[in-house]
Symmetry: C2
């Protein structure tokens, strides 16, 4: 295992120390692994909390800040954070207008956020929840009943974050979140496996001449393996399953995401491929992201996310955002 780490069991806390050192605009609790804004949003606005296992950076901690999340709860690598920590984060950021929980659809996350929501509501905090399940690769998976939550989470955190900043109430923010989950889909692939520090070896063996199509973000199995193929063929295998599942002629926000170990020169090349295919299929790409936004440790590979857009979503997308991972307009 070749990694820039000390003891494997210290990776999360030591990485959070770096986040704290680099970003004085964030408040990082090294005990609970909760990242919040150093300056909370105004009283009376809906707060947004997300979280999950670590290893997907910049998601979620890198998306805390104005226009996006109020708190991120970081579990150990690929391990859901406990309900008490999610509850503590919820309580810490509630500004009297309720809290939206953004949960990626993995069994542990769903259960723990559910329990946290119950605990919070016992404290008188109104909690709404959106479960992201955008991965068209598989119906059920190793860690999931139903589809896995992947890249759409990034776009959703941006969009509902902007809505909350506008002062919209919890019901309206929850409605928006559900509209986004209904209109976005993702599909990913891997060239190599990531390596969980505590495991010390790659999560799965992928021969030098093979790739895996439909991979999740934890090394859980995808649809199938096949011989390495040119970028053009890979792009086709990401685009087609999304278009088969989502009627998306018209405007869209598109993300070509890197899994952590693939360099930008390759991600742009892939974006060139997928954007041409999407446009040829009648998708009008009005906004895009290309880069590492939801990763799987040092896995090489990429994923594609497509979200149908309308004027409201574009207005929210263009609203100012200031986080370590996403920043514009301020």
């Amino acid at each position: 295992m070749k990694k820039l780490i000390n003891a494997p069991e210290d990776v999360l806390v030591e990485s959070l120390k770096g986040v704290a050192a680099a970003h004085p605009e964030l408040s990082v609790d090294l005990e609970t692994h909760v990242i919040t804004r150093a300056v909370p949003k105004d009283e009376g606005k809906v707060a947004i909390v997300s979280g999950g296992g670590s290893g997907h950076e910049p998601l979620h901690g890198g998306f805390v800040g104005h226009g996006m999340l109020d708190a991120a709860v970081a579990g150990e690598v690929f391990t859901s954070p406990t309900p008490d920590r999610v509850q503590a984060a919820t309580q810490a950021v509630d500004r009297g207008a309720g809290v939206l929980h953004i949960v990626k659809n993995y069994t542990g996350d769903v259960l723990n956020f559910e329990m946290a929501a119950e605990l919070a509501s016992m404290e008188g905090i109104e909690v709404g929840t959106v479960v992201v399940a955008d991965d068209v690769a598989v119906q059920d998976s190793l860690y999931t009943a139903g589809r896995r939550g992947v890249g759409l989470t990034v776009l959703l955190e941006k969009l509902v974050g902007a809505a909350a900043e506008e002062g919209r109430d919890l019901a309206s923010v929850v409605d928006l979140a559900h509209r986004i989950t209904a209109n976005g889909r993702s599909m990913g692939m891997a060239l190599t496996s990531g390596t969980v520090p505590a495991a010390g070896k790659p999560t799965f063996d992928l021969p030098d001449d093979q790739m895996e199509i439909g991979i999740g973000i934890h090394g859980e199995p995808g649809r199938h393996r096949e011989p390495l193929a040119p970028a053009h063929d890979i792009a086709r295998q990401l685009v087609d399953p999304i278009l088969a599942d989502l009627d998306v002629t018209g405007p869209a926000i598109v993300m070509l995401n890197g899994m952590g170990g693939s360099p930008l020169i390759e991600l742009y090349l892939m974006y060139g491929e997928v954007s041409a295919m999407l446009e040829a299929a009648g998708v009008q790409i009005v906004r895009n992201l290309v880069g590492n936004y939801i990763t799987s440790l040092d896995m090489a590979g990429c994923s594609l996310t497509v979200l149908k857009a309308d004027d409201e979503l574009l207005r929210l997308w263009d609203a100012p955002v200031s986080t370590p991972g996403l920043r514009w307009g301020m």
Copy 2:
């Protein structure tokens, strides 16, 4: 070789196609491989041109935009762009106030930019040049007389870009550039070699239990190899040679840069280590960058850059910038 590419010889152009598709605010010439702003800066302002071999993305093309570069000239992977293309870029972005060439200190780049500057001056364009040679690892190298130009290039492009945007004249921008190169140093290391697409195999062999300290950004040899070590020891080997070379008690801008294949969770962990060591040595880190800014294809590893700061540099640092790779204040 596991990469998201089609034919190796098409990587550069196909990646540029992706850049063009993703960034309508840039103008990408697929013939000359020159990236410029779609909307040029105002007449009468100094223009900034950089470039060099590809494979270091987002540098340089990802730093074209308001507050940073006016043009980037992309050579093939790890290959200097030809003088005629640098000259064409220079001519294209000159707004009547002269052009600054930012050149990383590699023999090919230095010669080609020199020749381009001569060609441009024959056309009546005033050209100033700054050669970045910030790498403390080695005195001469495989491709260099003198030190190599690495991470400081990123900070320099931001700072002189801001100065040019303010309307300062060429002599003043050149002076500033030289002040920056005199006050910044870098040191890098690799866990793995990157793979040049046309070569099809790693540039160098680094055994599973070894790392290389003092690596450049092209896989050229560093100072020495040694057994894999904890992040803390690696950080010490990046920090000490910089502090030995640069008297930097007081304010500084610090970048912990990823080489392309190392995920953000590791880069933040490394930033935690180096920032604590620098602060202990009397460096006051007033601004920082953590992420992939000047890479070496899919190499795993990182580099550290330290630049002594003063009020003027901080003002220029904080000035608005809007590029694919760096964006704030707008």
